[in-house]
Subunit: 145 residues, 2 copies
DNA sequence: CCGTATCCGCGAGGATACTG
DNA sequence: CAGTATCCTCGCGGATACGG
């Protein structure tokens, strides 16, 4: 199986938006993933079992949750502890590395919570009127940036 | 046209991973989007024209870039300034709100750059061996968390 | 140069059923 | 309980062509 973390650079490695040879862009994609952000945030509040995560995250299928957790485990962000009694118990928890990720991820989360209203307002205004833009009449032929 | 920012809560609003009534999850999804993060980061380094963005981001189609910029504009994170001369010029820049987003987004970016090697190593180790997990033999029937 | 419109392939991801 | 396997759909996103 091949996951998103395996894909290589677009094709042109000379122009790189994220100044790097080994593609943090790819990592960014993983980290920015919908379920990844939610799961890591949940685990940040304490270890949890599979079914606990499924309930607390809300709206995630078993398939996607398992897939997400596998990726996180593979990336060294989450550890999976199995208790082999019946009924079986599996507990997921963040690794030290995973906990470092929690910091910036919570910053993003905080931003969302803080500005969700502002964004909502902006959307309403944008959608409200056809938004007749003034359109600056051109001067400046084509300056050097 | 309906974008991702329009979709509502999963269905069960009682259990909410992101403690909110007005769904910052949805915003999170937008903010975590692949192209959004890249574009905002680029604009953080200075205003840019459409074609400049397309080149600097790398690997993005005109369609996706336009779509991304439209979303960002609608969300009040980016402003679009049109100069109506020939050849036409369109300059995109972050709004003050957009600049606030830049802070947490750059934190995530910094994390990716800092730990890309650690993650890469974890992946290698994970993939290397079939990873025969010890599996903790069960005690503790089912404690209260 | 800066987009939008149209077509379309492909893979993400839900539903369901089955194992340990 | 904690997944895996299989099917199937649906919309993301690339390619292409056209308009302002």
């Amino acid at each position: 199986m091949v996951t998103i973390t395996d894909i290589a650079s677009p094709e042109d490695s000379s122009v790189d938006p994220f100044r790097a040879g080994c593609e943090p862009r790819v990592l960014l994609h993983t980290v920015g993933d919908k379920w990844v952000t939610l799961v890591v945030n949940m685990l940040g509040d304490g270890d949890a079992r599979f079914s606990e995560l499924q309930r607390s995250v809300g709206g995630v299928s078993r398939k996607m949750l398992a897939q997400t957790l596998r990726t996180l485990e593979r990336d060294g962000l989450v550890v999976r502890t199995v208790y082999t009694n019946t009924p079986p118990r599996v507990v997921y928890s963040l690794t030290p590395l995973g906990r470092t990720l929690l910091v910036p991820l919570r910053a993003v989360r905080a931003w969302c919570e803080q500005y969700v209203d502002a964004v909502s307002d902006a959307q309403a205004e944008f959608d409200g009127r056809g938004d007749v833009q003034p359109a600056v009449s051109g001067s400046m032929p084509t300056p050097a940036r």
